[in-house]
C-alpha cells in the first residue's frame, strides 16, 4: 500500500491528468469490448467467450493493414470490418449450431476458436511481440490539460470510443432496427411472425458485437504490444465489466468500464498489489447486493 504516493499524485495536476487519461483509455477500450459482449448476450442469449480473441484479431488486422498502407484510417477499417465479417461467419457456421444447447457446449466451441485464432496469429504473424508504433497522422505534440500532457492519439481514442458508444446507444434506442433488435431479445417467435428474418438479424447483431471488439483492437494497436493470447486479459476484464454494469446494458457497461479504468490507473500508484483484487472484490460486492448488475434488468418474474 502506498496511499501517500496516491495522495501526492492526486494533488499534482500533471500526475493527476496523466492518470485520468490512462484511466479513460483503459476504460473506453474495455467499454468497446464489453458492450459488444453485452449486446450479443442480451439479444442472442449466448456468451461469446471468443470475444477477446476477436479483439486480438482486430489489433493484428490493423497492424498488418498499417504495415501495408501506412494509413491509420485503413488500419482502423481493416480491424473493425475484418472482425465484423469474421463475427458473422463465426455466428452462421459455428455459434448458431449451439444455440439452446448447454452453456458448456458454447464454452467449448468458443474455447476451441480462441486456440485456433491464437495459433493462426502465431503461424501468420509469428510468436514474437509486435509494435505498431504511433501512426504518422498522430505525430503531434501532446495536448495540455491543466498542467498535464496527454498524447494526441489518446485524446482521439477517448473521443472516438465515446462517439461510437453514443452512436450504438442511439441506434439501439431510437432507430426502427434498434427497436426490432430489442424486441428480438424478448420474444423471437413473435418478431418472426411479424415478418422479420430473425436468422439474418441474429447474424447481424453478432457481427456488430464482433465489430466493436475489432474496433477496440484497432484502436489499441498503436498503444499496446501485440502478442498472440493478448485477448485473454481483456476478456476477463470485460466479464467483470458486464457483471458490474449489468448484462445487456450499454450505459451500465460504460459506467463499469470507467470504474475499472480508474481503479487500474490510480490503483497502480496507490495499491499496485491489490488492483486485480479490488476489481474482483467490486464484482463480488455487486453480485451480492444487486445480482443483475448496476443497470441490468431484474430477471422476469
Amino acid at each position: 500500500m502506498n496511499l501517500e504516493a496516491l495522495a501526492s499524485c492526486l494533488s499534482t495536476s500533471a500526475c493527476a491528468v496523466t492518470q485520468v487519461s490512462t484511466a479513460l483509455i483503459i476504460g473506453m477500450l474495455l467499454f468497446m469490448v464489453a458492450s459488444g459482449l453485452s449486446l450479443i448476450f442480451g439479444v442472442l442469449g449466448v456468451i461469446n467467450f471468443a470475444h477477446g480473441a476477436f479483439y486480438m484479431v482486430g489489433a493484428y488486422f490493423a497492424y498488418a493493414a498499417y504495415q501495408a498502407t501506412e494509413s491509420f484510417a485503413v488500419a482502423f477499417l481493416a480491424g473493425a470490418l475484418g472482425v465484423g465479417l469474421i463475427g458473422i461467419l463465426f455466428e452462421r457456421f459455428i455459434m448458431s449450431r449451439v444455440y439452446g444447447k448447454d452453456v458448456l457446449m458454447q464454452l467449448l466451441v468458443c474455447y476451441a476458436a480462441i486456440l485456433i485464432f491464437d495459433d493462426l496469429v502465431k503461424i501468420i504473424a509469428g510468436p514474437e511481440y509486435k509494435m505498431m508504433g504511433m501512426p504518422e497522422a498522430f505525430a503531434l505534440p501532446p495536448l495540455e490539460f491543466g498542467g498535464g500532457f496527454v498524447p494526441a492519439y489518446y485524446v482521439f481514442m477517448i473521443l472516438a470510443s465515446l462517439a461510437i458508444g453514443i452512436g450504438l446507444w442511439l441506434a439501439i434506442e431510437k432507430t426502427r432496427l434498434g427497436k426490432i433488435v430489442r424486441a428480438l431479445a424478448i420474444n423471437p417467435p413473435m418478431v418472426s411472425a411479424l415478418g422479420i428474418n430473425t436468422t439474418m438479424l441474429y447474424a447481424g447483431v453478432f457481427g456488430v458485437g464482433s465489430l466493436l471488439a475489432g474496433i477496440a483492437g484497432a484502436l489499441a494497436a498503436p498503444t499496446r504490444t501485440l502478442t498472440p493470447g493478448m485477448g485473454l486479459s481483456i476478456l476477463i476484464e470485460s466479464f467483470i465489466v458486464t457483471v458490474i454494469g449489468g448484462m445487456g446494458s450499454i450505459v451500465g457497461a460504460l459506467i463499469a468500464a470507467l470504474l475499472i479504468g480508474f481503479t487500474r490507473a490510480f490503483g497502480a500508484i496507490g495499491f499496485p498489489l491489490f488492483v486485480d483484487g479490488l476489481m474482483f472484490a467490486m464484482m463480488a460486492l455487486v453480485l451480492i447486493l444487486k445480482p443483475s448488475g448496476l443497470l441490468g434488468r431484474e430477471p422476469a418474474r
Binding site: 427497436k179 424486441a183 417467435p189 413473435m190 418478431v191 418472426s192 411472425a193 411479424l194 415478418g195
Partner: protein, 237 residues
C-alpha cells in the same frame, strides 16, 4: 371459379409423436370473417400456428392467393400476407405503444402501405392516448387492441385472431367486438378463433367448427345460428 384467398388442404400437424390436426380442410374468401369455433383443445390455436408457419404441416398444404406458403419460414409467410395475432397478447412489454407498432410495420405483399401509425390511431382512439406508455403497463384489453393494431401495421391480406375475448371483462369484450366489426366493414379478411360462439354470432359471416383436430362443420354464421344439433354437440359448454 378463382381460388379462394386462403385455402387449407388436408393438413396434418404433429407435436412430437402425437397428432394434433387430422386432414384440416377449409378455405376463406376475400372479405369474409370466418369464425373458427371449437372447444378448448379442439385444435384452433394449432390451426393458426400451422397457417403462420410456427407448426408446419407434415402433410397437406396452406395456399394464399393460389401460392403454397406452408413449409416457408414464419417471416416469409407473414410477408406473403398472413398476419397472426397469438392468443396470449404477446406485446413487447418494455417497448412503448408507438414502438410496438413500429416493430410491426412493413409493406403488404403488393408493396402497399395503407396502414400507418396515423391510421391506426384513428381506428384505435384508445391507443392514441397512450402512445408513449410502456405496453407492459396496459390493461389486458388495451394489450389485445395493441397486438391487433401491431399486426395490421404489417398490411396483411388475412389476419388470424386467436381468442381475442379470452380473459377480458364483458365491457372490454364488447369494445373488441366493435373493433373487429369495424375491421370487417373495412373489408379486412379475418379468421377468428373462439370458444365463445355468442361473441362470434354478431361478428362473423361464416363459421367452421373444429373438434378433436378435425373439421366437422362448415356453413354461414346464420346456418350455424339455427343448427341446434351442431351447437349442442360441439359448442355447448
Amino acid at each position: 371459379m378463382a381460388e379462394p384467398l386462403l385455402k387449407i388442404a388436408g393438413a396434418d400437424v404433429f407435436y412430437g409423436a402425437s397428432q394434433i390436426l387430422f386432414g384440416v380442410d377449409f378455405s376463406v374468401e376475400k372479405g369474409q370473417t370466418m369464425a373458427l369455433l371449437g372447444r378448448n383443445g379442439a385444435g384452433k390455436s394449432t390451426t393458426f400456428k400451422m397457417i403462420a408457419g410456427l407448426a408446419p404441416p407434415s402433410r397437406g398444404e396452406v395456399r394464399l392467393a393460389g401460392e403454397t406458403v406452408s413449409g416457408k419460414p414464419p417471416y416469409r409467410i407473414a410477408r406473403a400476407g398472413i398476419g397472426y395475432v397469438p392468443e396470449d397478447r404477446q406485446v413487447f412489454p418494455e417497448h412503448t405503444v408507438d414502438d410496438n407498432l413500429i416493430v410491426g410495420a412493413k409493406k403488404g405483399p403488393r408493396g402497399d402501405a395503407h396502414w400507418t401509425t396515423e391510421r391506426i390511431y384513428e381506428v384505435f382512439p384508445i391507443l392514441a392516448g397512450m402512445k408513449t406508455r410502456l405496453a407492459g403497463r396496459l390493461s389486458g384489453g388495451e394489450q389485445q387492441m395493441l397486438t391487433i393494431a401491431r399486426t395490421l401495421m404489417g398490411n396483411p391480406d388475412v389476419i388470424l385472431l386467436d381468442e381475442p375475448s379470452e380473459g377480458l371483462a364483458p365491457i372490454i369484450v364488447q369494445a373488441i367486438a366493435d373493433l373487429i366489426r369495424r375491421l370487417r366493414d373495412m373489408g379486412v379478411t379475418i379468421i377468428l378463433a373462439e370458444q365463445n360462439m355468442h361473441f362470434c354470432l354478431g361478428i362473423a359471416t361464416h363459421a367452421t367448427v373444429v373438434d378433436k383436430g378435425q373439421i366437422v362443420y362448415r356453413a354461414t354464421i346464420e346456418e350455424l345460428r339455427h343448427n341446434e344439433e351442431i351447437k349442442s354437440r360441439y359448442l355447448a359448454v
